[in-house]
Subunit: 200 residues, 2 copies
């Protein structure tokens, strides 16, 4: 593909096509946009990627990618050490931070248990989480994991591993999302929202 | 956005969001994928972009991006010098090449005339095209421009500029695309396909 454009562009397209949401066609469009906007996009993006590869590491405490270690959140004295929010990936952490509703610390698992994908407990940062709860500062672990089979399997596994540690283990509430029309919601969500109904 | 992840990641997300088809959300997903796949994706993509920025230039004859000047197509002795296919961008050239149906040379305009976007004739490589047809080798200029108002305005402008040069000027046929159900085609295409009907 695009061999007539030289191996460099061909290789660039092949790599762009590996990004989530990209395919061969959108990768070609992206490569063209980069070639057209050499000074404004191609060179800055090359530099940003090189800098990220060079400077960004996983935080040794929570596992989130950052240029600092411990990361900005772990080293922020204003944040509550007694709350640890467990997330699958940094993307979930960023979503929690955008909500502005959480002022505790995080723990990034780096994935979910998955029999299908062959992801076992050793691939996740659960032992590190157990170690953090042993430190004595944490009083609550909030499991902010996806409401999927893998997410819930992982939640149960973590709850088991933390049993007896003395910290309380909670999960994000399930229910009707803000702006959610009942008509468009799946049955499972309606069942959970009904079970967890609260006085208005 | 994502300021808690350090300015490098924030900047990377902002640049990724400028790629066509990407928005803030998909740029975050792409950045996460890059961070997760450091060795397999982040470092190779940084290198591919740097190499492209470093080596790829526009061909001084046809304007297509390539590491060679003249480009691989312009310097290919097996290709027919008497045919010049005029395209808007390298993306259209790549599409023509994928079809495998054209063995002549190309001329990349670098855009289309657009009153709305303020693109005038000087922004396009039309004078270079006129110069190429004066060389004497070209006998036909094929306008492979989009079937849009800007595409057709540009086609008319080029036809005017080439008038009296002695080369014949043709355009890609309009009609029902392969696999095209009449039910889903716009009226304009049906009108053109009917007008240009041919004996079966």
């Amino acid at each position: 593909m695009a061999a007539f454009a030289g191996p460099e562009i061909e290789r660039l397209i092949a790599l762009l096509a590996k990004l989530p949401g990209m395919g061969p066609r959108s990768a070609r469009r992206a490569a063209l946009a980069l070639l057209k906007r050499r000074e404004a996009l191609l060179i800055p993006l090359a530099a940003a990627l090189a800098e990220t590869a060079d400077k960004v590491r996983s935080c040794s405490i929570c596992g989130t990618p950052d240029t600092r270690d411990p990361c900005s959140i772990c080293s922020d004295p204003a944040r509550d050490n007694s709350l640890i929010c467990v997330v699958e990936e940094a993307g979930a952490l960023w979503a929690m931070e955008r909500s502005g509703a959480f002022r505790g610390k995080y723990h990034v698992l780096g994935g979910l248990l998955s029999a299908l994908d062959g992801v076992g407990p050793d691939a996740l940062r659960v032992t590190e989480l157990v170690g953090r709860t042993r430190g004595g500062e944490a009083s609550e672990v909030i499991l902010a994991l996806p409401a999927t089979v893998d997410g819930q399997t992982t939640a149960h596994y973590i709850a088991e591993r933390l049993a007896g540690s003395g910290v309380s283990i909670t999960s994000l509430a399930r229910g009707v999302p803000v702006g959610g029309e009942l008509d468009w919601l799946d049955d499972g969500t309606i069942v959970q929202a009904l079970r967890a109904r609260r006085p208005t």
